[in-house]
Symmetry: none
DNA sequence: CGTCAAATTGTAATAATTGTATCATTGTCA
DNA sequence: TGACAATGATACAATTATTACAATTTGACG
């Protein structure tokens, strides 16, 4: 039985690429709350079968959604809706959120026996790496 | 009760295979002395249950660690930490462990929409706070 | 103490499921 | 026609599922 949350309507004559239509429909369902964090999406092959398209096309859509951090694709496990990024919340809450995340990271690193210097250096290094691999940012 | 030495954090979104993450986290704890020679690791089935993965995946990680002489798996008995690897190896393992931990933190923070600058500043701030509350360090 | 059965632990093999990577084909449009 | 995007075909890697098995420990029982 096809997933009721997934009854897509593809328009093969719209000129819009199929993978784009899949991306739009999934992200739309996420935005509407029909798909919620943790929900598992159909496998690339199952959805491809349902939509009568090649599974590579579905995989391409999933990859785009994965890069957009909307879903999480996990080889051998499946694909799942990611947690929503924090809604537009007050600057105070935003800061507290980051503070908690950072405190847990620091505490864990120090608990594991790393020095403050090591942690600082690694953070700088990894931020630099991230910047290089993601082009423009901030 | 989960083993306090074993509170792993798997990142199913990192692209790194699960078994690799398990290998890195265990070898990192060994390199840092959190896990000491003779310590018993959770059984493959127990750790698999805790991490919500198949026990074959844990067994694969244990097998790799066993071949690297970091742990000793003994059928019917369990798995135990072997002697600490030589310093040049532990240094490598230590670094890789911290790198993984840091990458997960940075990825999560940036995913939540924080900028690199915000992350950098918060890390500096929290390290300073930690230093003040724990007196001597390093 | 000695013995045996059950439980526990790691090992192994195999198949199925899932996403990934790469290249080939098709089709559209300038 | 030629270039490029979209799609298809194929092979591959990671994980899961299932099952069976061997070594060891544990505990009951005499």
């Amino acid at each position: 039985m096809p997933d009721p949350k997934m009854n897509f309507e593809l328009d093969f004559h719209s000129g819009l690429p199929i993978y784009t239509q899949i991306v739009n429909q999934i992200s739309g369902r996420v935005a509407n709350g029909i798909l919620e964090p943790g929900d598992q999406l159909p496998t690339v092959r199952a959805l491809a079968l349902e939509l009568r398209v090649n599974f590579n096309t579905v995989a391409r859509a999933y990859r785009i959604l994965d890069e957009a951090r909307i879903i999480s694709t996990q080889q051998g496990r499946g694909t799942f809706i990611m947690d929503k990024p924090p809604p537009n919340v007050t600057e105070k809450l935003r800061r507290e959120s980051l503070e908690g995340l950072t405190r847990r990271f620091i505490a864990e690193a120090l608990r594991l026996g790393f020095t403050q210097t090591e942690v600082r250096q690694m953070v700088s290094e990894q931020i630099k790496v991230w910047k290089e691999t993601t082009e423009v940012e901030e």
